[in-house]
């Protein structure tokens, strides 16, 4: 699980980082069904959806020195959403892999709506929980696929003190 964000020292609650990480990996169908109906008639773009390349870095074994793994296609956008509650407008930001502008726009709307406490509960139910389920299912499938290629190496322990070399496999 990666946690790379623009502002590391931000005082934002951890919750926002968590749901942004979830939204950035959410499939389009889930976003469309949950957030699609709330799509603003005239989105107030702070940064219109744009697609570009980003260098991603890895660490060997998650602990070693950073190295450049390769470039990935990333779409990003930021929009301002007026809320129904008297609270001032909120800004939703999203980064997703791939080139789908619809996906990244919906993720940004979801991020903005999640900052509204009155809608958080509902969205948690209809959006975040299904995304978690989807991701854990995906992980399970991947693990099973990896599991099927697993090779077991058997070695029979050499009897201590035995001198003949032919007895062991």
């Amino acid at each position: 699980m990666f946690h790379t964000f623009d502002n590391v020292e931000s005082a934002q609650p951890e919750a926002r980082a968590d749901w942004m990480a979830l939204l950035s990996r959410a499939p389009l169908e889930l976003l469309e069904s949950a957030v699609g109906p709330h799509w603003p008639a005239k989105p107030n773009w702070l940064r219109a959806p744009e697609t570009g390349l980003m260098m991603i870095q890895g660490r060997a074994g998650s602990t070693g020195e950073r190295f450049n793994l390769g470039e990935v296609t990333v779409s990003r956008c930021a929009l301002r959403l007026e809320l129904a509650s008297p609270q001032a407008a909120v800004v939703g930001v999203a980064y997703t892999l791939g080139r789908s502008h619809r996906q990244v726009s919906l993720a940004a709307v979801a991020d903005a709506m999640l900052q509204d406490p009155s809608q958080q509960g509902l969205l948690e139910q209809i959006l975040l929980a299904p995304i978690r389920e989807y991701l854990s299912h995906q992980r399970m499938v991947r693990e099973q696929r990896a599991q099927s290629t697993k090779v077991e190496f058997f070695t029979v322990a050499r009897e201590s003190g035995a001198l003949d070399d032919e007895g062991d496999a």
Binding site: N7, S10, A11, Q12, N44, W45, L46, R47, A48, A78, R80, A88, A89, V90, V91, V93
Partner: protein
């Protein structure tokens, strides 16, 4: 920049490339006709601090490879956050490390010689400075106006600027003498830009 600031930031050009191309055209006009006020039209939601024409000029010119120095009143203002968000430029604290500099109205302008001057072989590495001024006039009938001459000016053009340091003409003469090195200047008001490239020479004249 914290996310809290994000909610108060304005949007950039509604169409990024057309918007910045239009401003780039204004900048070309301003530098090719020094001493002429060029009207700037744009649809960006400019920040509260800083003059609008200066803000959109930087919005059009900057990208993530550019370094920008801001005067004290602009540092940490919404203008800084706005430029950082939309252009990704890098802020620097020393004027001589900046490719672009923006001096807010009322702030003391650093010496022109303190900015990057380029070198004789690479004069394009010098800084471009944008200076916010209260107002500027180009009529010849005002007392103690300046007379501009040089490439891009057919005969002579006249200029009066409010909001520049007293010794500006002296500093400018030194800057002009350093050619091919030296900084290029844009003067900005809310709606207008005026270019002063290093090739322009300024003479004090007593008015007509």
């Amino acid at each position: 920049m914290s996310l809290h600031d994000l909610a108060s930031l304005g949007a950039g050009f509604s169409h990024e490339s057309f918007g910045s191309q239009a401003i780039f055209r204004c900048a070309l006009n301003a530098l090719s006709q020094p001493g002429r006020c060029i009207t700037v039209e744009h649809d960006a939601q400019v920040p509260r601090s800083g003059k609008a024409a200066g803000a959109v000029l930087l919005l059009a010119l900057l990208d993530s490879d550019c370094t920008l120095w801001l005067s004290p009143s602009l540092q940490g203002s919404d203008a800084a956050a706005w430029l950082r968000f939309h252009t990704g430029c890098q802020m620097v604290s020393q004027p001589d490390r900046a490719m672009f500099a923006w001096v807010g109205e009322g702030d003391a302008m650093p010496l022109l010689s303190s900015f990057s001057q380029g070198s004789d072989s690479e004069p394009d590495f010098s800084a471009t400075c944008i200076i916010d001024v209260q107002q500027m006039h180009t009529d010849a009938n005002i007392d103690s106006c300046w007379t501009l001459s040089g490439p891009g000016i057919q005969n002579l053009s006249h200029l009066t600027v409010e909001g520049l340091p007293e010794d500006f003409v002296l500093q400018w003469a030194a800057n002009h003498a350093r050619f091919p090195r030296g900084v290029d200047l844009f003067l900005a008001t809310q709606t207008h830009l005026l270019g002063l490239p290093r090739t322009t020479s300024i003479q004090l004249s007593g008015g007509l």
